[in-house]
């Protein structure tokens, strides 16, 4: 009985359950098309894992995760475009819009698959480390941090649009055919991509869980709740926040990288202000401080977006905004906090029952 109780046993059961759902149930019941959509939602959920850590636990409202998602996505897409073009050829869009006869210098390292793969995670982390150390040392926080992150997402998207000849501009990097030698139009390979994404998501959740339950995780909550006090204990809160910010950036980068083979495109429209806010909404609705809440919330909101925006393309944006505001104003802990409330109610009810029994016996 004890085996089924403790929090780590519950977590293990949760992991096993999600693995069954993701690896057995979903491929069985979903069509190839729906499974492809689920792969996309799971990528968004990977970003939400980082948001849960940085925002839910660290209090950093990261409204600019699109930057890191984009860095990961472009790093991956650049490699895939080079590979699609074949040795010695330029990617298709460069032949159309550009005047260059050879790859720009900053494209060249991405021809190497190992470099590109490492860059999908390390590049966003490095950028986050530089940005973060500026931001946190200058003690930018709260709404100012959120606005700054958002401005960065906007700036990055605008910069990409301006570089038509080397980034594909507004169109982005599209029409990606192959993924490390596998043709992406083959449903079997698409399914493989889905499995890779599902496995990556579970891995990130496990990593985030370890961080949240570590001493660092406790310290992060302390910094979120009382930064000044932490400073008087001899810690530099800037470093504590920086770790969460950089890890969240790496997670967003990996999500962006895996998004590319799943969807076949990365473009400024997928990483600007609106998508950056969308990355956060799912976590807010599901419960930003809870990993399970953030992940399920992200999948649910992404699914709702597809389902509802097909029916009501104009109304969805308003609905989404409303959802965000309602969640923040009335349910700051998200749907996950409802479970906690129910559990507490039940516990107090049981306590009352337990308290009654001895009295009865005494009588």
């Amino acid at each position: 009985m004890n085996l089924l109780k403790g929090p780590s046993a519950r977590a293990a059961a949760g992991f096993a359950g999600s693995a069954v759902v993701l690896f057995a149930l979903a491929p069985l019941v979903l069509s190839d098309f729906r499974l492809g959509l689920l792969a996309k939602y799971l990528c968004i959920a990977m970003v939400a894992v980082g948001v849960c850590l940085a925002w839910g636990r660290g209090g950093l409202l990261t409204l600019g995760q699109g930057v890191f998602f984009g860095l990961g996505g472009y790093a991956m897409a650049m490699h895939l475009k080079i590979a699609d073009a074949g040795p010695g050829n330029l990617p298709d869009f460069m032949q159309l819009y550009g005047t260059a006869t050879e790859l720009p210098w900053w494209w060249q390292p991405f021809a190497n698959p190992l470099f590109a793969l490492a860059a999908t995670v390390l590049l966003p982390m490095a950028v986050a480390a530089v940005l973060g150390s500026f931001i946190f040392r200058r003690r930018v926080k709260g709404a100012y941090f959120a606005i700054l992150s958002q401005a960065l997402a906007a700036a990055f998207a605008i910069w990409l649009i301006g570089q038509q000849a080397t980034t594909g501009g507004t169109n982005g990097l599209t029409d990606i055919q192959g993924f490390f030698g596998y043709a992406l139009d083959d449903p079997v390979n698409q399914r493989m991509v889905y499995f890779v994404i599902a496995a990556a998501l579970l891995l990130l959740i496990a990593l985030a869980r370890q961080l949240i339950h570590s001493r660092y995780g406790e310290l992060l909550v302390a910094v979120r709740d009382s930064e000044e006090r932490v400073r008087f204990l001899g810690y530099d809160p800037a470093n504590v926040k920086l770790v969460a910010y950089v890890v969240a950036a790496g997670m967003a980068g990996l999500a962006g990288a895996l998004f590319v083979p799943a969807v076949g495109i990365i473009s400024p429209a997928l990483i600007g202000i609106v998508p950056s806010i969308e990355f956060v909404i799912g976590a807010a609705v599901g419960g930003r401080a809870s990993l399970v809440g953030a992940v399920l919330g992200a999948v649910a909101v992404a699914w709702a977006k597809t389902a509802l925006s097909e029916e009501f393309p104009a109304a969805w944006t308003y609905f989404q905004g409303l959802l965000f505001i309602v969640a923040l104003a009335f349910l700051p802990g998200g749907l996950a906090s409802l479970a906690g409330i129910v559990r507490r109610r039940r516990a107090t009810a049981e306590e009352k029952k337990a308290a009654v029994i001895p009295v009865g016996e005494a009588a």
Partner: protein
């Protein structure tokens, strides 16, 4: 043990000088009380020593100059403080609060793993401040006095050599004050303690030495009896009769 040595300390905010050329020496192992009317600059003095506000002059602890260092570096050189309103991490348990306070020097590897057991200094501090029973309760559920004790416990596990306590017994019952005073006496056997306090009974019972601050300057210094006999001190407190009735009575009683 190290002592605190403050020279010509000045703190001003937009033209208002809150601390105006304070010289203050606290011997190692002293239990020093800082008293004075509201606005005398007591808390600002502590803020300056702990790096929270900019100051001119010199603050040396154990021979090291502290002014100009950042808050967390000053904390790491062995100086800890509490605040007028207890600030503990409400959502974390008592144990977690103490564990964090104990951990500023931990390696990255230790930080990234779970806490498996209760570290020895944490267990000792729990015992010292009498919170062992409540180790797993969220700090937010503690009573006011218990939060103050938790804060003192956090300073103990932080292993500070100088404790700066800002009104630690405010809002406590008589018994709690007594317990806190005895706790401070025990602590000051191995560490240097500076207490800002308005409660004159508490000061008389536990102070080893007293400094009286007034309008940003040190007005008088010495043992409790010496300070109370000082006509300058009596004048300051009598001048503030309306606002400082407790202090007033205390001085007259002497």
């Amino acid at each position: 043990m190290s002592g605190l040595e403050i020279r010509r300390l000045r703190v001003s905010f937009d033209g208002f000088t809150a601390v105006d050329g304070v010289d203050l020496d606290v011997r190692p192992g002293d239990l020093r009380f800082l008293i004075g009317p509201n606005g005398a600059g007591k808390t600002t003095l502590v803020d300056a020593v702990t790096g929270l506000v900019r100051a001119e002059g010199s603050v040396r602890f154990g021979g090291e100059e502290l002014l100009g260092r950042s808050v967390h570096r000053i904390a790491r050189s062995g100086i800890g403080r509490t605040f007028q309103t207890a600030t503990v991490f409400e959502e974390l348990t008592v144990l977690q609060n103490l564990d964090i306070a104990a951990g500023a020097g931990r390696s990255l590897w230790t930080m990234l793993r779970r806490r498996k057991d209760v570290p020895e200094p944490v267990a000792r501090a729990l015992e010292t401040v009498g919170l062992t029973e409540l180790a797993d309760s969220p700090a937010g559920t503690l009573a006011h006095g218990q939060k103050q004790w938790l804060e003192i416990g956090m300073l103990l596990v932080q292993d500070v050599r100088l404790l700066l306590l800002d009104e630690p017994v405010a809002g406590m019952s008589h018994d709690e004050r007594q317990a806190t005073g005895e706790l401070l006496q025990r602590i000051s056997a191995e560490r240097t303690v500076v207490v800002i306090e308005h409660d004159m009974d508490f000061m008389r019972s536990f102070a080893r030495s007293v400094s009286v601050l007034h309008a940003g300057k040190v007005l008088s210094e010495g043992t409790v009896a010496e300070v109370q006999a000082d006509p300058k001190v009596q004048e300051v407190y009598l001048g503030h009769a309306a606002a400082e009735t407790t202090a007033d009575v205390a001085v007259q009683e002497a």
